[in-house]
Amino acid sequence: MAAVNAQIKRGSAELAVLTLLAENPLHGYEIAKQIEAQTGGVLRFDMASLYPMLHRLERKGWVKAEWHTLPNGRRRRCYRLTAAGRKQIAPLRAQWRAFFQALESVTGFQNA
């Protein structure tokens, strides 16, 4: 699978994380693993990209983090989507759709 440029990856990360959290709350490691699994390893987040981004989303009020104690007694900081975050998904999707349509019209990448 082709590697994805860091800038593109960074831009798409917020949408990927918000979409994932729309389903259910997850902690950082689960978010990273689920995105990696669902994208077949194309999108892969290391700690340096994932956690600062999660904290940024938290500051924006799009996600809320809470410490949960798991059945095995370990504490994990779980992120859940807020109402404000849920509202962001549709505009972000629309932006990405417009971006891909524009790109497609220039490069015809769907037929490439």
Partner: protein, 219 residues
């Protein structure tokens, strides 16, 4: 099981100071990663080294930089203070370059002393720089003005502070000539190094604003 919290504290001490919660979160991530590798059948030592590799060397530096970028470079810092700081640095650089090149400020004698005309002429560049950087990072016109004016405001504050200290000390010394000299320079220094530079910086910011609006791509 390795004590990942301790390992994170040892490798990334800066987080323990800035955000202990972040330390715990990273430790939890490493713990999960380590256990997942063991679950895949990797030997303990290899799983440990592989997990540790995520917070060592180049990755450690990158993690710290990203953390600082996200945690500290927010709001006012990103939109006004940093552009203002860059503007101040450019202003200082121009001033010292002129001084080193022996391009002295004795060009005009407006208020009974030398004033840095050539430096003023370069200040619109600094003002424009502040405004452009602020526009790139921020939104409001007020923040763009603040960024381009920061050097003048800082210099002005510093000058007034120095004068206040100077006058207080002169009062103790009770030396008429000293007070008189200070009053004379009070008429020269603030305009020369704060008020007029502010005007020149604003001019640059205004030009940058007009140019950016003129060449803004159609949405």
């Amino acid at each position: 099981m390795p004590d990942w919290k301790q390992i994170v504290r040892k490798n990334l001490g800066v987080f323990e100071v800035c955000s202990p919660e972040f330390t715990e979160e990273l430790a939890a991530h490493l713990e999960d990663n380590y256990e997942a590798l063991l679950g895949e059948g990797l030997p303990t030592e290899i799983a440990f080294q592989h997990t540790l590799g995520q917070i060592e060397g180049r990755r450690r530096i990158w993690l710290v930089l990203r953390f600082l970028q996200e945690e500290l470079m927010t709001g006012f810092m990103r939109e006004a203070a940093l552009p203002g700081l860059m503007t101040s640095a450019a202003t200082g650089l121009f001033y010292w370059t002129l001084a080193l090149g022996h391009i002295r400020g004795n060009v005009i004698w407006l208020l009974g002393g030398p004033l840095p005309l050539w430096w003023w002429c370069l200040l619109p560049i600094c003002g424009a720089l502040g405004a452009i950087l602020s526009r790139r990072n921020g939104r409001s016109s007020l923040q763009r003005i603040a960024a381009s004016l920061l050097p003048s405001v800082t210099l002005g504050t510093l000058i007034l502070l120095l004068f206040a200290i100077g006058f207080t000390l002169s009062g103790f010394v009770n030396h008429y000539q000293l007070v008189s000299a200070r009053l004379e320079s009070l008429g020269l220094v603030p305009p020369g190094f704060a008020i007029i530079p502010a005007a020149f910086s604003l001019l640059g910011a205004a030009i940058a604003e007009v140019r950016t609006k003129k060449f803004r791509p159609l949405a």
